[in-house]
Amino acid sequence: MKHDFQALRLDAVTRRFAGAGGKAFNALQELTLTIKRGEFIALLGPSGCGKSTALNCIAGLLPLSGGSIWLDATRIDTLPPEKRGFGMVFQNYALFPHMSVERNVGFGLRMRGAAGSEIARRVGRALKLVQLIGQEHKLPGQLSGGQQQRVAIARAIVIEPPLILMDEPLSNLDAKLRLETRSEIRRIHRELGRSTVYVTHDQDEALSLADRIVVMKDGVVQQIASPQEVYGEPANLAVARFMGYRNVLDMAIEAQNGDRVTLAAGNIRLIGARKQALVGERASVAIRPEEIALGEGPGGENTIAGHVDNVEYCGRDSLIDVMTPSGTRLHVRAPTHIALGESVHVHVPVERALVYADESA
């Protein structure tokens, strides 16, 4: 397999599995995506959303039920994994337990029939890149989880693949190590200048690492966009919920003026920004806790009154639950100390109250 490429193109890639009672279900439905050279793509979604299925389809570990995969002008979905030449980092590392670190990392080169001196040189360089010099002769069982993870990364990149596939590589590490390894992965990606497809269920990981994020749910792509866009302008309510829009209010539509929508529910009246075509008389408003401010809005617009029902201290700020007189609970994140039961006003900026089609519609 050649080592350089311009783009990897997934064309309506579909994978069906036999489900309970012999009924087939689509684990992955018509994923169409073009990955450019040098790009870092994150497949993001809750477990069971089809992201790992997509990764295994690209790697060749799962045959497709439909669609095709192209590396430039070469169709590759018909090739077995060993002919595709993509590097893969597995969730449980999948290091060969009977081989030293050195032999693990050199495995791909040996399979390609590289000369001994060449293998030694490139393995040394890969181990330096992941900062594992001095551990060459240890067996994987003698390494810590973080070191094993780095061996797995070195083993995948040493073959200089056009594409590196990572399946939740940080999920087995503790919080501190996860942050460190995350920046390592980003650095290695930059240094190699190849493409990376990274599967995760963690929004923070996807936002901090990726150039583009593919948000998935139930095997269907919900949104393909930059981290900024996925964070700020989710394509639909499912993406919004997943990206941390914890306040989702079901409200009646009172008026529409351009993309401004006026909504009401109980004693709450809100003006929001429309993000989806609305049908019927109801709509859902999604608001991030950190985008609700304590206090009155300018001119009293988009101001909601209530009392503090719960406070969780989080260090830099607090998570405050505000209960309105009509019984709606709002999650607010604010850098304020506030007493339980206190009466407050909160204010939602019009631009940050995102209006989506009603869920039940």
Partner: protein, 290 residues
């Protein structure tokens, strides 16, 4: 002092007492008879303490039984392990048919050796189905002699020993994380290389163990050597010699000595194979955190 502290200091863990029944069982039913037999073997009817042993190694119808038995047991073990390995490897992936094939392969384990010998006698015999089919269809017209000779015993050792080797190897193979082979595939290893570089080295210790168990089983062959072989000639195995000494000549002392020699030969082979096993990686066969 809290209970945790008490546990940390306790000089004796009383749950260890649970091992007593098993230890007593071993002592009474294995170690004592073994030592008794060992002692008996040094008290020959005539001659010094080593009289039985020198008799065995100087008598022409005794010492060659070692070779006769090895000539049957080693090929049978190699065939069983060699056949079981590729079949078990194929069976490692769960398929619809796996359960059925496994069941069919394992059925012979439920049959006794005598039953197998009786069945084989009719099936493989000169008037049996096999030779009649071959001759009627003119695939092979010459006389087919698969019973009352070396081949009859070998066939019966394979039939009775294969399921055992197969089950053992299957359990070793399914214990190897299949993700390792997938990782090897993404690194460029085709299925043959995956087997050679991943499965085989990780299986090697298990294969050695399987070889030892299958060998010990085959080396103590008795019923099929009598029923399917020619116990006076080419399949006069060592257990027949011991049987004759004990129950035809009523020389328990010589019989004990033959049994000791038999055990010693088995021990030699097992020790050699387990020694080779130490050359391989013997740790856990998963590739990281599960």
């Amino acid at each position: 002092m809290t209970q945790a502290h008490a546990l940390a200091r306790a000089p004796f863990d009383r749950t260890l007492l649970l091992v007593v029944p098993a230890a007593a069982f071993m002592l009474l039913l294995f170690i004592y008879p073994f030592l008794y037999g060992l002692g008996l073997s040094f008290e020959p009817k005539e001659g010094g303490a080593l009289g039985n042993y020198s008799h065995f190694f100087t008598t022409d119808n005794l010492w060659p039984t070692i070779w006769t038995t090895l000539r049957l047991a080693l090929p049978a073990t190699l065939i069983n392990v060699g056949l079981a390995l590729p079949i078990a490897y194929k069976m490692r992936i769960k398929t619809r048919y796996q359960r059925w094939i496994t069941t069919i392969l394992v059925v012979p384990i439920t049959l006794g050796t005598v039953l197998i010998a009786e069945g084989a006698l009719t099936y493989f015999g000169p008037k049996g189905w096999l030779s009649q089919t071959l001759q009627l269809s003119h695939i092979y017209d010459g006389p087919i002699r698969l019973t009352h000779n070396y081949w009859g015993v070998l066939i019966s050792l394979v039939i009775s020993g294969f399921p055992f080797a197969f089950l053992l190897i299957l359990s070793y193979i399914t214990g190897i994380d299949p993700v390792l082979a997938r990782a090897a595939a993404t690194l460029g290893a085709d299925p043959a290389a995956q087997f050679r570089h991943i499965y085989l080295p990780l299986l090697a210790p298990g294969l050695a163990m399987c070889f030892c168990l299958a060998f010990v089983q085959a080396f103590s062959v008795f019923p099929s050597a009598v029923l399917l072989g020619s116990p006076a000639g080419p399949t006069r195995v060592i257990s027949i010699a011991a049987y004759e000494a004990a129950f035809e000549q009523y020389d328990y002392s010589l019989a004990s000595a033959i049994a000791m020699i038999m055990g010693f030969v088995q021990l030699l082979i097992v020790a050699a194979v387990l020694g080779l096993r130490n050359l391989f990686y013997r740790g856990p066969v998963v590739g990281g955190k599960g």
